[in-house]
């Protein structure tokens, strides 16, 4: 009998996954040099360096390092994001740049980002191969990095691709845990890493809980003792949750936070939850091992996840509650930034409901987007039709893993689609959906290959499954490969064939670029033409990035950063629809409207350089 998960566990699959990881890492490393430092990345570089210095202090003078003062000095900078990735970036910098002297600072910071990004193709392969077959895995793995915006972001020492990796890892571990008796532990650990990467991780329980509960309920249908333990676990969590809500409602947010102490009702409730969960899970395991495997990852996420979140982030050690509360408050009330969309500058909510879907359709290469949409649509349609009594028997009901994949392909998109959620940042805020869409896209391509094989077998009976899948995978990935190669390293500017490429998107009135990294295109010209000591205004490039371009040998060190066109002799303006006034300020200050050079990608103005008359 085919096992429920039917995991790809063969030695060969492990090797393929390893090969995909290695290849992805190598490609990212080989193509990183021209990738500019996006606004946030240089801030993370600085934070990473600060955190790394704290680790040096920890080894040198641990008692001092562990004081709140020393921790705050190191970790207060950029405490709006958890520390995991920044710690990795910083340690990598210490090792590869300062220690071994092998890499320039930026490359050294980025090495962990490449490694985490490279996990995605490997995990897509493993999930696809276990859910469908290896061909699906190959298409999904390759196609993920051939989406130019994903390829670009995979280079960055930022958190958008890492959280996509951690989200995928958590879901994959939950999936594996259905067959592995100790899978719960890995699921809990993966969830903890997700929480330690970016706040998106806190949405994961909402996605996984329905699956765990449904499966636990289904598996205990013939085990009254198991069902009873299941209900008790649910009751325990619901009861503790309700009491927390009562405390929160009665005290108010401020006092609720203040009242949490080692000896407080909240701590007692948390302790009761831990002890009760462990005890009840043991009962469930005795009654129904499969149901235990369904529920235990969820409990592990609830207990291990927050523990890792706390332990990995020294900033929380002395003041866990109020600093965590600040963190949640910051993200719940995040600013809105202007964003150009279909000829309108979006500045404040409500944002268009269809924004995420339209933006995805216009920024994922069409030969990848269409299979993804078809794959997702097929699962949804099969699910809907199988509920129809008359059709139920003739339609293949989506399997547990397929539904899990489809839901994870949809939820990150739904979260950002809410009209009140900030909509800036291109597509990176719903990257967590893309690996799952890649799995479903691979399924579409392979179904087409199977259909083709079946047709051709009438003539060539010995046709191998790869004989049609191979060319089809190559054909669907080729346009994306060309697009990625053409647009690199300006990934945030990419638009798909459906948009009409970059020129079509400019005519549609879409955001041309963001995050300032495209400035790298004009730095060589500036280096060649700027007189010594020139005051240079790099519009949208923050002071950290200016310093990093100089530090990494991309910008001459004698050039001085200017605060604006008024005190600059040379300026590089980044075309943003909401920043048109800035270019006119250059015209005014410099006494000319004629640029001296620029970056025009497929004719679209991206970065325009002016020199004072």
């Amino acid at each position: 009998m085919k096992s429920f998960v039917s995991l790809a566990r063969s030695h060969r699959d492990g090797l393929v996954a390893l090969a995909l990881f290695t290849a992805a890492f190598a490609v990212l490393f080989a193509t990183q040099a021209p990738v500019g430092f996006v606004r946030d990345e240089s801030v993370y570089f600085a934070a990473a360096e600060s955190y790394a210095r704290w680790f040096q202090l920890l080894f040198r003078d641990p008692s001092n390092a562990l004081t709140d003062g020393a921790i705050v000095r190191a970790f207060d900078f950029n405490h709006e994001h958890p520390a995991l990735m920044k710690i990795l970036f910083g340690l990598s910098y210490l090792l590869f740049h300062e220690g071994l002297g092998l890499l320039k600072p930026a490359a050294a910071f980025r090495v962990p980002a490449f490694a985490v990004a490279a996990l995605i193709p490997a995990l897509i392969y493993l999930l696809s191969a276990s859910l469908y077959d290896r061909r699906v895995g190959i298409w999904g793995a390759i196609s993920f990095l051939l989406v130019p915006r994903q390829f670009f972001n995979s280079h960055l020492a930022c958190f958008d691709v890492p959280i996509a990796a951690m989200w995928l890892l958590t879901v994959y571990m939950f999936w594996r845990a259905q067959e592995k008796s100790r899978g719960w532990l890995w699921c809990g650990l993966a969830f903890g890493l997700a929480l330690a990467t970016k706040h998106n991780g806190w949405f994961l329980p909402w996605v996984i809980t329905p699956f765990a509960l449904w499966r636990g309920w289904w598996l205990t249908r013939s085990s009254p003792a198991g069902r009873e333990a299941l209900y008790q676990i649910v009751g325990l969590f619901a009861g503790v949750g309700a009491q927390f809500l009562v405390l929160f409602a009665s005290l108010g947010p401020q006092r609720f936070v203040e009242k949490i102490a080692p000896l407080s009702p909240a701590t007692a409730l948390a302790a009761a939850l831990v002890a009760g969960s462990v005890w009840l899970l043991r009962r469930l395991a005795r009654a129904s091992e499969p149901a235990f495997r369904a529920l235990s990852p969820l409990v592990a996420m609830a207990l291990i996840g927050p523990a890792i979140f706390y332990l990995h982030w020294p900033y929380l050690w002395h003041h866990p509650i109020d600093r965590a509360a600040w963190y949640f408050e910051f993200h719940a009330t995040h600013n809105h930034y202007a964003w150009f969309y279909l000829g309108k500058v979006l500045r404040a909510p409500p944002f268009p409901l269809e924004y995420v879907v339209v933006k995805t359709a216009l920024t994922v290469p069409s030969s990848i987007f269409v299979p993804m949409a078809l794959g997702l649509g097929a699962v949804v349609l099969r699910g809907a039709l199988s509920l129809w009594p008359k059709l139920g028997s003739s339609v293949e009901r989506p399997r547990f893993g397929e539904v899990l994949t489809a839901v994870n392909a949809i939820v990150p998109i739904l979260i950002i689609s809410h009209p009140d959620v900030p909509h800036f940042g291109g597509v990176k805020h719903w990257f967590a959906a893309m690996p799952f869409l890649a799995v479903l896209g691979g399924r579409s391509v392979c179904r087409a290959a199977d259909f083709l094989s079946a047709t051709l077998r009438a003539r060539w009976s010995a046709l191998h499954g790869w004989a049609t899948a191979g060319p089809l995978i190559a054909l669907t990935c080729a346009p994306a490969l060309i697009a990625t190669a053409r647009v690199h390293p300006y990934g945030t500017s990419y638009y798909s064939e459906l948009a009409g490429g970059l020129p079509g998107a400019a005519t549609l009135g879409m955001q041309r670029q963001f995050w300032s990294n495209n400035v790298t295109a004009v730095l060589p010209w500036i280096n060649d033409h700027a007189p010594p000591g020139t005051r240079l205004w790099l519009h949208e490039v923050n002071g950290f990035s200016f310093r990093d371009y100089q530090r990494n040998g991309m910008l001459r060190r004698d050039l001085q950063p200017a605060g604006g066109p008024e005190d600059a002799q040379m300026a590089a303006y980044q075309y943003h629809q909401e920043f048109r006034e800035h270019e006119m300020n250059i015209w005014q200050s410099f006494g000319t409207r004629t640029p001296v050079t620029g970056l025009y990608l497929d004719e679209t103005p991206q970065v325009i350089v002016y020199r004072r008359r």
């Binding site: 500058v345 054909l475 064939e497 009409g500 020129p503 006034e581 006119m584 050079t597 004719e603 103005p605």
Partner: protein, 297 residues
């Protein structure tokens, strides 16, 4: 099918883009045939790369919405189109552009660039422009019941005491994506007015006042922001001739005009601005007078 279409797209795209050589050919034509004061209108509006090559004597116009700009200060318009770009729709452009224009000669193609010259029948010869006359104007802050505070001209701007932003000068600024060369005027705050007084104001067929809040500030709706009032008064009598008000959150240009027999005989005019709270009320103001269309081509 999709993949094949996508491959074809990528295969054909480079051949749909203009080369530097093609731009230089266009520039050569403009250099020899364009008259001072001609405009080059871009289609699609964003194809600004030609700025690198165009002779400085011609104004290159291309902004979101420029297809419908009457370009009343230009008697001739060169349309530089890129009809082969993806999503280019020349017919749609012409529906917006052609009314009030007649083509002079046949369009010329330079690879993927197409250049055509039009007579602009919407052209209105200027009689007066506040931007041109600002150097000779007198600028001061007027406070009810108090002495005027003069803002002397330093060769580039009339600067008032206090904030650097309290000045009147001809400058480039953005009003809802449109670059405009206009008078920068910022209200001094309270009931005070910043006044630019023109001693001679020749009046043609009509007198037009246009004003708008500069850049992103126009979009702000903070309750603390106050309505900005811009007006034109007869310098001799103090009678109000034109006025616009710009409430917070209003983007673009607010416009008022008087023409024909409704125009009073004006010798000198006071162009003023006031807003109780001057924060983020940087304003781009133009006062112009022109003749009726039908001028030279």
């Amino acid at each position: 099918m999709v993949a094949v279409a996508a491959l074809l797209f990528h295969w054909s795209l480079p051949s749909r883009l203009p080369t530097e050589e093609q731009y230089r050919s266009v520039s050569a034509i403009l250099g020899t045939e364009a008259r001072p004061g001609d405009a080059v209108l871009l289609y699609p509006w964003w194809t600004e790369r030609v700025r690198l090559f165009a002779p400085p004597s011609v104004s290159v116009v291309g902004y979101l919405g420029s297809d419908r700009d009457p370009l009343t200060s230009f008697s001739r318009i060169w349309v530089l189109a890129q009809p082969n770009l993806p999503r280019s729709d020349v017919n749609a452009f012409q529906r917006d552009f052609l009314p009030g224009r007649s083509r002079l000669g046949e369009p010329r193609a330079f690879g993927n660039l197409e250049l055509a010259l039009y007579r602009n029948e919407l052209y209105r010869p200027a009689v007066f422009s506040s931007v041109s006359a600002v150097a000779s104007a007198r600028v001061y802050i007027e406070t009810p019941g108090a002495a005027r505070v003069e803002c002397p001209y330093d060769g580039s701007a009339h600067r008032c005491p206090g904030s650097e932003r309290l000045r009147v000068a001809a400058e480039w600024h953005e009003l809802t994506f449109q670059p405009r060369y206009c008078l920068w005027m910022r209200p001094p705050g309270g009931t005070r007015r910043l006044v630019t007084e023109f001693r001679d104001l020749p009046v043609g067929e009509r007198l037009v006042l246009e004003a708008g809040i500069v850049g992103e500030y126009a979009t702000r709706t903070d309750p603390s922001l106050t309505t900005t009032r811009v007006g034109v008064a007869d310098a001799a009598t103090g009678n109000e001739i034109l006025g616009v008000s710009i409430p917070r959150g209003i983007e673009g240009v607010r416009r008022a005009e008087r023409s024909g027999s409704s125009l009073p005989p004006v010798v000198g005019a006071k162009l003023w601005i006031q807003s109780d709270n001057p924060t983020m009320r940087d304003t781009c103001v133009e006062l112009t007078s022109d003749r009726a269309p039908g001028g030279s081509g």
